[in-house]
Symmetry: C2
């Protein structure tokens, strides 16, 4: 008998006793999984028509969900067995298999076998319950270690516990020896050092944000504090041999060296804010659980980027009016690759890529210095006004195309779905890939739960505001009384007072804002709210439920913090 228990998250449902996994109808498993809404294994059944490469990518994209795993955790029937299973290396009376035998089990019909630290596991029944979906099949017939090295979220005790239950044998000693090199390699071992102040949401791949209290201390975010959102290990790129390949234009592929980009094209500076589609996901998650990295309010930062304009490079590579007749998209591929060799990829609409006013850069500098490894050294794309996911780092290939990128991140991840859509009903084709982001703002000070000394009678509230598509933030309203009344914050758009305002439709950088106002009449607690208005007079929605979506993207409802007033 199996005991599925400890469903973490909002939907703790206590102890569900299920007789036998193997004999349960899929509907029951699906239901159980849905109750355990930390993840939903059924979600990826809809991916069945996709290549496994996409599926694998999905695992990375959903890394946050896997971190939050902790469900389908179970114990073997006997505590002793459970304890033994912790190591997954205990000696046993189980049969010994060769790698060749293991390799014959690579499908649901033949059985799905994997090896891990010398053990052989038949995980056929687990496939349907895998938080990352059927992408687990990529490991079929081979060793788990390289995958778990890449998706380090698996390195948790309860994951080993789950695995232990599926053990069917031992790998023969000779074949185990051959695996050793793979086992010891950590694709993240060459990732750069990061500043310890960052709040890490995922270590491998590295995803981290600065504390809100330092985020708005400078208009330009120092690169060390700039939020980091990697999908894969940081690639090691030699700038001397770096080549950017441009494809899809008449005359065939053209390559540019870093030196070419620096010397053959005018250098443009663009101050642009980059925001992750998942910024403020944790707030949406509090309303109802979503799947993804638990970002706070700081998955957004602002830098001065310098480089060649994409437009200029495309023109040099053969773009012209004839191409504009049929082309609709420009694809980017990173030099960061997953274990199958697939690169991170995305695309943007052609008109954004080639417009003189689009300001899309192939940037080789960030804040006046060469781009740090975490941000795309030596060259990254910067697509101002557009979701960060399209500003592909470590860009190695650009392709002009009639079609949108088929990459997982374009087709199956960064999209917004209606509040009623769950992992059972999601139709990926029904929503457009996120490009321009909606209007956003947040309060960086005071922090939620802060104690405010009432002795000086005034309160200062600070934050940031930004909108996608080059739409300038024209106003930030701040309420100190939970939305009853509103005051207008003072906006700051640059470090340099004399800087000209951006042309209409090209306001790529955020505005920092500040309001100092008298503390409202005696109150022990204040709910402080901010909401921004952009130049198209779009506004932020009031609450999260009407914009809730299963991936927790586009989380831009009013930001609220509650503070306590104390007498000084």
């Amino acid at each position: 008998m199996l005991l599925l228990r400890r469903c973490h998250g909002l939907t703790r449902f206590g102890h569900a006793h299920i007789q036998s996994r193997r004999h349960l109808p899929p509907a029951v498993l699906s239901h159980a999984a849905r109750l355990c809404s930390t993840h939903d294994n059924t979600s990826d059944r809809h991916l069945s028509g996709l290549s496994w490469k996409h599926g694998l990518a999905g695992l990375l994209a959903g890394a946050g969900a896997v971190i939050a795993f902790g469900l389908h955790r179970h114990e073997a029937e006997h505590p002793a067995a459970a304890a033994a299973a912790q190591t997954a290396e205990s000696s046993s009376s189980l049969p010994v298999f060769s790698q060749e035998e293991v390799s014959q089990h690579r499908s649901l019909s033949d059985g799905v076998w994997v090896t891990y630290r010398g053990g052989v596991y038949d995980i056929t029944d687990f496939v349907a319950m895998h938080p990352g979906g059927e992408k687990i099949l990529l490991a079929a017939g081979g060793a788990l270690e390289p995958f778990w090295a890449l998706y380090a979220v698996h390195n948790q005790e309860h994951v080993l516990e789950i695995l232990s239950e599926y053990k069917v044998g031992e790998l023969c000693a000779e074949d185990l020896k051959k695996q050793k090199p793979a086992e010891s390699s950590d694709p993240y071992s060459t990732d750069p050092d990061r500043h310890p102040v960052l709040r890490v949401n995922s270590l491998k791949p590295f995803n981290a944000e600065p504390p809100p209290e330092i985020l708005t201390d400078s208009y330009i975010t120092p690169s060390a504090f700039f939020f980091k959102r990697n999908h894969l290990p940081v690639p090691q790129v030699d700038p001397a041999s770096y080549q950017l390949q441009v494809e899809g234009l008449p005359g065939g592929a053209v390559t540019f060296s870093l030196e070419d980009l620096k010397t053959r094209f005018p250098k443009h500076d663009v101050t642009a804010t980059v925001q992750c589609a998942g910024n403020r996901r944790s707030e949406m998650d509090r309303e109802k659980q979503v799947k993804g990295l638990s970002w706070g309010i700081s998955a957004i930062s602002n830098a001065k980027w310098s480089g060649a304009r994409l437009r200029d490079v495309l023109l040099a590579a053969g773009f012209g009016p004839d191409v504009a007749q049929w082309a609709r998209h420009v694809h980017f591929e990173g030099l960061d690759k997953d274990v199958t060799g697939a690169a991170y990829g995305a695309s943007i609409p052609l008109n954004k890529a080639v417009s003189e006013e689009g300001d899309v850069l192939l940037a080789y500098e960030m804040n006046g210095e060469k781009i740090p490894p975490d941000h795309g050294f030596p060259v990254r794309v910067v697509v101002p006004g557009v979701v960060g996911a399209r500003s592909v780092k470590w860009v190695g290939k650009i392709a002009v195309s009639a079609e949108e990128s088929s990459s997982h991140w374009q087709q199956y991840d960064y999209k917004g779905f209606p509040p009623g859509t769950d992992w059972n009903t999601v139709d990926y084709k029904s929503a457009p890939a996120i490009q321009e982001l909606p209007v956003q703002s947040a309060i960086t000070s005071p922090a939620d739960g802060a104690l405010i000394d009432s002795s000086d009678g005034f309160l200062t509230v600070k934050g940031y505001a930004w909108s996608g598509g080059g739409r300038e933030v024209v106003r930030v309203d701040v309420s100190l009384d939970g939305g009853q009344t509103w005051q207008v914050a003072k906006l700051r758009s640059s470090d340099e007072a004399h800087e000209a305002p951006p042309p209409p439709g090209r306001a790529w950088a955020w505005k920092l804002w500040e309001l100092t106002a008298p503390l409202p009449p005696p109150a022990q607690e204040l709910e402080i709210i901010c909401k921004a208005v952009d130049s198209s007079y779009n506004v932020q929605p009031e609450t999260f439920p009407p914009i809730w979506n299963l991936r927790g993207l586009l989380s831009n409802a009013w930001h609220r913090v509650t503070v306590k007033i104390i007498e000084g």
Copy 2:
């Protein structure tokens, strides 16, 4: 003693007894006026630095507020006197003045005198209480008739009652005779006939919208039903002598005849939705009173416009990269003029005007026929994705400029202010002129209060959705339970099924939508709500209070209708 009474609107305050208007400090008058929040006479004090021309324009813009006047209505102390005053023509023992004497009273220091139907009135004390503000000074020293003919909202009994109280004499017979021609002329006498189905919000100038139930019956709105928003009388323009003047470019002014526009430039078709900034104002007004025409949900319509591209005409007139160095705006002036000879005017940013993707037209056809008089015959500007106020009708002049238009409608009317701003605190410079509009949607069927027969078990909901800036509506969510749950409506983007989708950022036309869903479990009443999402994933705000603004513009909160369920 004066009796200020019958304060219409939300703030009925019963009978306020005020001893003498003449001796009241301005603060008291101001306070009284504020209580009577149907309008606020203090609002236009802030206009004191502006030309009267602007002020006059403001009166037109605020015509709805004047219609809703009915305040500061008062009776003379004796009922008999009040009755006599109704005609304002009764013989009296008052002194007789010449026009020359009247003309010497044209300021607050010299007194403000006007004539009306042979009577002479000293309205000095009324100036501060005039709903249209100090623009009343334009009439100082002369006859009211031409102004009241233009702003026909004055032709109401209670306005005559107010006037009667200020009578100080009679105009001498000889001078009265000279006035006759002015008195008899109605600048609206040549306005075209309109379809009787339209719901008229103001007759002079003509402002009307189609009933919601016919609005979404066709994707292209027939011109007869297309909402009409005129600021002034419809000008009579002879197409044979029509001249469009283009100024501000090197080489001086260039003129184009209608024939020039038709033959010298390629003809472009653009299907574009036009929406008034005041669409759905009546809903915002229900939350808290605003100033403006009381539009329902139909101050929006969709047509196929054909004409020369503004870009092409500007290029032909001398626009080039040198001009782009200094120019920032393109101004439009209509051939519709007010009594001072000032034309309706507006401007748009240069980049919108000259962009190949901006699709700004000098349109001479609407839905395949010459543009009807109400919609700008023979030539109007169509600025897709932008508030209707910038699509200047009967366009007579275009000017390229470094500055935004100084027109009233650009500087002092179509702007969005914070919810906390009232007519005492409004700072017109603090908000940008509305250009792109935010995402919008509304339910056209069923109507609010409709009775729904439950016998077939299903309910069909229909409506429109649109967003500014060429952002395509990507989804409309409909709730049948007051926002608890949401279903996705089916979108229709064209009459022709095979029509290609618009390029990104050029979705100028609305989408019609429809949802047929089972009636929720037994309920006597349903609150139906719609909300749209555009391609930048901006959404509509939930409620009106957080977007409330004193002019009732940009009213795009969720649209809600309540229906009653009856058994068939």
